[in-house]
Amino acid sequence: MFRYRDLTIRQKQIVWAWIFLAIPVLFYTVIRFYPTGNAILISFQEWNLLGSRTWTGLDNYTKLVNDPVFWKVFANTFLYLLIGTPVSLLISFVIAYHLDKLRFGHSFIRMLYFLPFMTSAVAMAWVWRWFYQGVPIGLFNNFLAGMGIAQIEFLNSTTNALPAVLAPAIWAGLGFQIIIFMAGLRSIPQSYYEAARIDGVSWWTVLWEITLPLLRPTIVFIVVFSSIGFLRIFDHVFNMTTNNPGGPLNSTKPLVLMIYDTAFNSFDMGYAAAQTVVLFTILLLVSLLQLWLLRADR
């Protein structure tokens, strides 16, 4: 018969460890693993949320591969990533680098940069949406018209819409990235800089040979974090294009919006689940890449 007091100290520790672990394990099983498994299952079925589920094999995936909208959306998703990540990284580094050197009003300015990160994405998206409108209500176009310059179609254009939607998303994430960069900059020992100053090396060499290499873990973290964020972009796009979600002509539609649309407008749960599995795979690969990069760093 199993009796607790017969166990060795080590075994008791293991028992207690599992008792404490049971809560997160249970939580993750119910909240994460079960729905994930279920979604993968549904991706092989046809289901409109009302009737019964029927097996369709790989039909949903075949449909996905042959759907031109999916490839357009796939390309958009990576455009968000490939433009958003480097641009936000560069801007946040430049700001953090100079803010770090600033003494006067440091906390206040840092707070100002952090403010957009705490603002609701929905409210922000709507304000920017109105900024982008044409005359007579759009801020930017009113300004252009006032200067006698032709209006720019920000959102109603297949080429301008994606960058226009991306801009507030980048701006919103800056505050967080600046804070992380500043923490990274502060953790670089001052002695390296002092040694460099004694040797009389240039500003550029200090940046290139000391600051950036020592910031590498910070940069990897921000790159991965913001990559996942841009791959999952939804609220900015959805709120800035609610009348024509992801439009015009799907030019701003990211994968998550397509999933939402398929699931909750078309009620084609199987197809939506297949798209979700694809997104999940992409995110998984990005995360694995992160682990690999961090390990290579050691």
């Binding site: 949320l49 005359v135 007579p136 018209a145 179609e153």
Partner: protein
């Protein structure tokens, strides 16, 4: 057992909420609709008078925000957790019938022949195999809103034909020195109500028939369809009296007094009525040159779910009878501003000559109801059709052909099984 316990708790809660009637509350049924102030208000009044007439029945109303409504209903009814009587958009009904989630209305109390004779003809879409599955309390149609001040200043009368519509729009459009539109003659945007105007009104007015085979075959890639599309796109490209992106949303432009005319549904009346400083009027949608009139009508229906059995079913039938009665329709018009579903109520002299509701009610007489497989996807097809022409520089004919093909794919997929 669990559901029994749950319904007991619910019944208890309902009884507690209605103390005076609690003693006699024997059957309790649940009613669901989406949240819209006036609708909830009207339904509360209806429930109160229903309960007075039927002291042994208690009706509990639950409502959700519109954005969640469809998902909530779709998740709850199959799980047997939902309402006994539910409000659904007419376009969703087929899915619910196919999944066996709603019951046909008993023919002894809801005689199909009587309903055919008494209700507006578009309600016939709710009939399957000789039985009605659902009935509306109210219906909606389109009309032309106009800004009285702008029309007076331009010295023009509200248009009655499409040609006059263009003339009035030309007379009321304003531009700044650089040629940017600052006030549109008419609002436009396939994302709003224009896709209904195009589908059921313009195509028919140019001599076409938008769909064949009970809305299963797209039929607008025709001469008539092309003429309708050309008329529609010319408003922006040739006449320059509108801009689909103007002030973000058509209704916003009209509400702000920056649009002379605006096509919208009867449900817009409520929000315009509260707008201070805006003097507006309503008139029937403009007729074609040959006098052809058409309109689009949609409606929300009430249906009894498969969850209602035995005495709950009987109570639900009584409740359905009550909320589709003439008095209920009049109350719905007075409180919500939605149009009665029966000509006998709608076409009374008082209602059809009403300054605001008259044009909508008169429009019902010649209205068509599109049977959508997926309204938002089918709307998207027309949105993209116009976008391709306006910002993609595609030829109108090619774009129309592409749109017709894309919509046919949606219909084929839906009707495949």
């Amino acid at each position: 057992m669990r559901t029994k316990l749950k319904s007991m708790i619910l019944a208890g809660a309902a009884a507690a909420a209605l103390l005076p009637g609690a003693a006699s509350a024997e059957v309790e049924i649940e009613y669901w609709q989406y949240f819209f102030d006036a609708r909830v208000d009207a339904m509360e009044q209806l429930i109160t008078s229903f309960e007075e007439a039927n002291p042994d029945i208690t009706v509990t109303m639950t409502h959700f925000p519109y954005a969640d409504y469809r998902t909530k209903v779709a998740a709850a009814i199959p799980a047997g957790e939902g309402p006994d009587v539910v409000q659904l958009f007419y376009g969703w009904l087929n899915d619910y019938i196919d999944a066996g989630l709603i019951q046909p209305l008993p023919t002894d109390t809801f005689d199909p022949a009587v309903i055919d004779a008494e209700f507006f003809p578009m309600v016939g879409a709710m009939k399957k195999d000789g039985q009605y599955y659902a009935l509306p309390t109210a219906v909606r149609s389109l009309a032309l809103f106009y800004n009285e001040r702008i029309l007076e200043e331009a010295g023009v009368e509200p248009p009655t034909t499409l040609d006059e519509l263009v003339e009035v729009a030309l007379a009321t459009t304003e531009r700044d020195g650089a040629g940017n539109i600052t006030q549109v003659g008419i609002t436009s945007g396939m994302t709003a109500q224009d896709h209904h105007w195009f589908r059921e009104v313009l195509i028919r007015q140019f001599g076409g028939e938008p769909y064949l085979d009970d809305y299963q075959t797209v039929n607008y890639d025709t001469e008539a369809g092309r003429a309708a599309l050309d008329f529609y796109t010319a408003l922006e490209t040739e006449h320059g009296v509108t801009l689909s992106t103007f002030m973000d949303e058509p209704q916003a432009a009209f509400k702000a007094g920056r649009a002379a005319m605006h096509i919208d549904g009867s449900f817009r009346v409520g929000s315009l009525a509260d707008q201070r400083g805006l003097r507006w009027g309503v008139t029937e949608l403009p007729a074609a040159a040959d006098g052809t009139q058409s309109n689009y009508s949609s409606y929300w229906v009430n249906a009894i779910t498969s969850k209602a059995e035995g005495e709950k079913f009987d109570a639900s039938v009584k409740f359905m009878q009550f909320i589709t009665s003439d008095e209920a329709m009049q109350l719905w018009l007075d409180v919500v501003g939605e149009l009665p579903a029966k000509p006998s109520v709608g076409m009374t002299d008082e209602n059809s000559n009403d300054e605001v509701f008259g044009p909508f009610i008169r429009g019902l007489a010649y209205a068509h109801t599109t049977t959508f497989a997926n309204e938002s996807s089918q709307r998207q097809v027309l949105v993209d059709m116009v976008s391709r022409i306006n910002i993609g520089d595609q030829d109108a004919g090619e774009s129309l052909t592409e749109a017709a093909a894309a919509e046919q794919v949606i219909l084929d997929e839906y009707y495949a099984d």
